[in-house]
């Protein structure tokens, strides 16, 4: 593995992939937060014809300087994806085409132009055609140290710009009208950001390829969003995830001799999926655990309430109930014979108090009929907090009876 960082042949692709993926994931965060992730799909496809035609012109003008042809790729790709963006805006605004259809149409037509150009090159400039084919699925292996410097500085440019404009960026991402009214240079910023988005996409094309570029922009943003609500953290995490996917994806593609782009995207998606499952707070696993824990608490409180009302636990417990009873015993709410302890009695009384308070509140303050209030109170008794209890008590003037003429237990001190 160390070879990949040091060996002169392997070093360039490795660092190239890392830097490119980092830049595109940084910009990916922006379009992800603006909910226009699919824009990257269209723009990267729209870059293809420009890259092909750029290489073709380069081949005709400077056939002897093949090592500089990436400049033609970059320039052409930039121009044509800018054109794609213009076409998209024109379709949406003048043509009144819905955004998804416009994205799809621009993508397909531009890609068609690219394929025509590529087939023309296949016939006329077969040697250069190989380079163009590489742009579809990405190939990092042929990069040299010079590429690292160029791509690296472009990646740094993106990162540096985001760092410099962070404040206005934050304001305008979350509240565009606020940023406008605060006289921040929103329009200027938006324009520059689009240029940078194009730049990061076309920079990434070399290693990930036109077809899968959007995955590289989306996946790290998705993964990073799972871990944080803070914009700085999301940016840093996304850059990290992007860099890691570039590193591991390139490694896998070299040892398994698979195309680079798909491997990088697969690694990135794996990160995204893992974070979707296991991220604390927002991950599926933790949300399920939270829901189950809440249900368990409801069940425990309902059992306590039941024992408090009936005086004893009178059912033959199922497996689930035995578990809950065991937990209650361990928590010191009930004793060995399933009778309430002192703590348990107080806790049960306070739950019943919340239930009856809520019933009274619904009946008195909101004008519900007394028969209809039980069901919502059955849920609210597990949700009401001590502060809400206090407010309710004050609002209802410390009542003694609920709408069904049952006594409301005294407030626990």
């Amino acid at each position: 593995m160390m070879d990949f960082f040091i060996d002169p042949v392997l070093r360039a692709p490795m660092w190239g992939c890392i830097l490119m993926c980092m830049a595109s994931s940084l910009m990916g965060v922006l379009i992800f937060l603006r909910k226009r992730s699919l824009l990257s799909e269209t723009l990267s496809h729209a870059a293809y014809p420009g890259a092909v035609i750029g290489v073709a012109f380069f081949a005709l003008l400077f056939p002897a300087h093949e090592e500089w042809s990436f400049l033609a790729v970059l320039g052409g790709a930039f121009l044509s994806s800018l054109l794609g963006l213009k076409a998209l805006h024109w379709l949406e605004q003048k043509g009144k085409v819905r955004s998804d259809a416009a994205l799809c149409f621009v993508l397909a037509v531009f890609f068609g132009v690219g394929i025509v150009a590529s087939s023309a090159m296949q016939a006329q400039l077969p040697v250069w055609h190989k380079q163009v084919n590489m742009l579809l699925f990405g190939q990092a292996a042929t990069m040299s140290d010079m590429h690292i410097w160029i791509y690296g500085s472009l990646a740094l440019l993106v990162a540096f710009f985001l760092f410099l404009t962070f404040r206005p960026l934050q304001a305008f991402l979350f509240d565009r009208s606020f940023a406008l009214s605060a006289k921040m240079p929103v329009l200027f910023l938006e324009r520059i950001l689009f240029w940078l988005l194009l730049l990061s996409l076309i920079v990434g094309i070399r290693s990930v390829g036109v077809v899968l570029m959007s995955g590289m922009a989306i996946a790290p943003a998705v993964a990073a969003r799972q871990f944080s609500d803070r914009l700085q953290t999301i940016f840093i995490l996304a850059a990290l995830f992007g860099a890691l996917s570039g590193l591991i994806g390139n490694y896998l593609s070299v040892i398994a001799s698979l195309p680079t782009g798909p491997m990088i995207v697969l690694v990135g998606t794996t990160f995204a999926l893992l974070s979707l499952f296991f991220a604390p707070k927002r991950g599926l696993l933790f949300r399920i655990i939270r829901i189950l824990a809440f249900r368990l608490r409801c069940l425990e409180e309902n059992i306590l309430k039941g024992i408090w009302k009936k005086g004893k636990f009178s059912e033959t417990p199922s497996l689930r109930l035995s578990f809950v009873l065991w937990r209650l015993k361990r928590g010191g709410w009930i004793d060995k014979h399933s009778n309430l302890t002192n703590d348990g009695r107080q806790k049960a009384a306070s739950i019943v108090r919340l239930h009856r308070l809520w019933e009274l509140y619904l009946a008195e303050s909101l004008g519900f009929q007394a028969e209809k209030v039980h069901r919502t109170a059955e849920e609210m008794e597990h949700i009401l907090t001590p502060e809400m209890e206090e407010k309710l008590t004050r609002l209802l003037a410390d009542p003694k009876q609920d709408p069904h003429h049952q006594p409301i237990p005294e407030r626990r001190l």
């Binding site: 909910k35 699925f137 995955g215 195309p259 697969l266």
Partner: protein, 290 residues
Amino acid sequence: MNWGYGSDAVQFAVLSAVAISCGLIGPFLVLKRMAMFANALSHTILLGIAGAFLLTSSLWGGGLFDLSTLLIGAFLAALLTAFLTESLVRFFRLQEDASVGLVFTALFALGIAVVTLFMRDVHLGLEAVMGNADALQLSDLKLALSFVGLNLAAIALFYRQLQISSFDKSLAKTLGISCGFFHFLLLFLAAATCISAFRAVGVLLVLAFLVGPFLTARLFCHRLPWLLFWSPLIGIFASISGVVLSRYILDVYGLALSTGGLIACLIGLIYGVGSFIKWLLWDRLPSFGK
């Protein structure tokens, strides 16, 4: 007429059949705002086909381009895409655009990896993206025609339901039309259409067929039956002129251009010309009202 390997007649026929399939399905897809979903499907069918081929070839020795393999592939692709994007949105609370983008790029990457690893076929990946109209045979024509039949039958059978569920979901619900079923039917038909076009024009250019003719037709008419009539017609026009143009360039300049790519360019051009004509004849015309 010569109906042999890669002949003009076969190209005309297959591409027209593809245009008809797409022209029939495309309007519903765009109306239901599922165009980018079609884009997702067009990517995932690669994995669908690869999976279906591994399945059928081990079960009864089915070929890669048998009708059964392709249908299973389309079904797999539609199911996978729909299930994954929907569950990412519903269970993982991911926003919809990101979910679509994540799913199809991952599945396409997986498809490329599977094709390279298990089938040792590097060209399938490239051909899937580019299409190769010159390699079309009579068997492709049969396939394409059977998919046209499938689409025609489905739309003829369920025209009312599809129409109502694409314009007014709540009306469809009150009439007892199962939106979920027709949504999936449409996805399946779209996947099948992408697959039938897969060899001829490639997975990405089929999107031009799905969206372009409909957008052009909608410049001039707004009723669904007419849209369903004009979109296939515009598609056929584009594909025939595309084949003619590519043949002409080959004969005169000796330059072999990709027919699929040319057709996509033409579809774009037709839309451009169409909107120019509309602007010229319609928008600039003084009307009685104003």
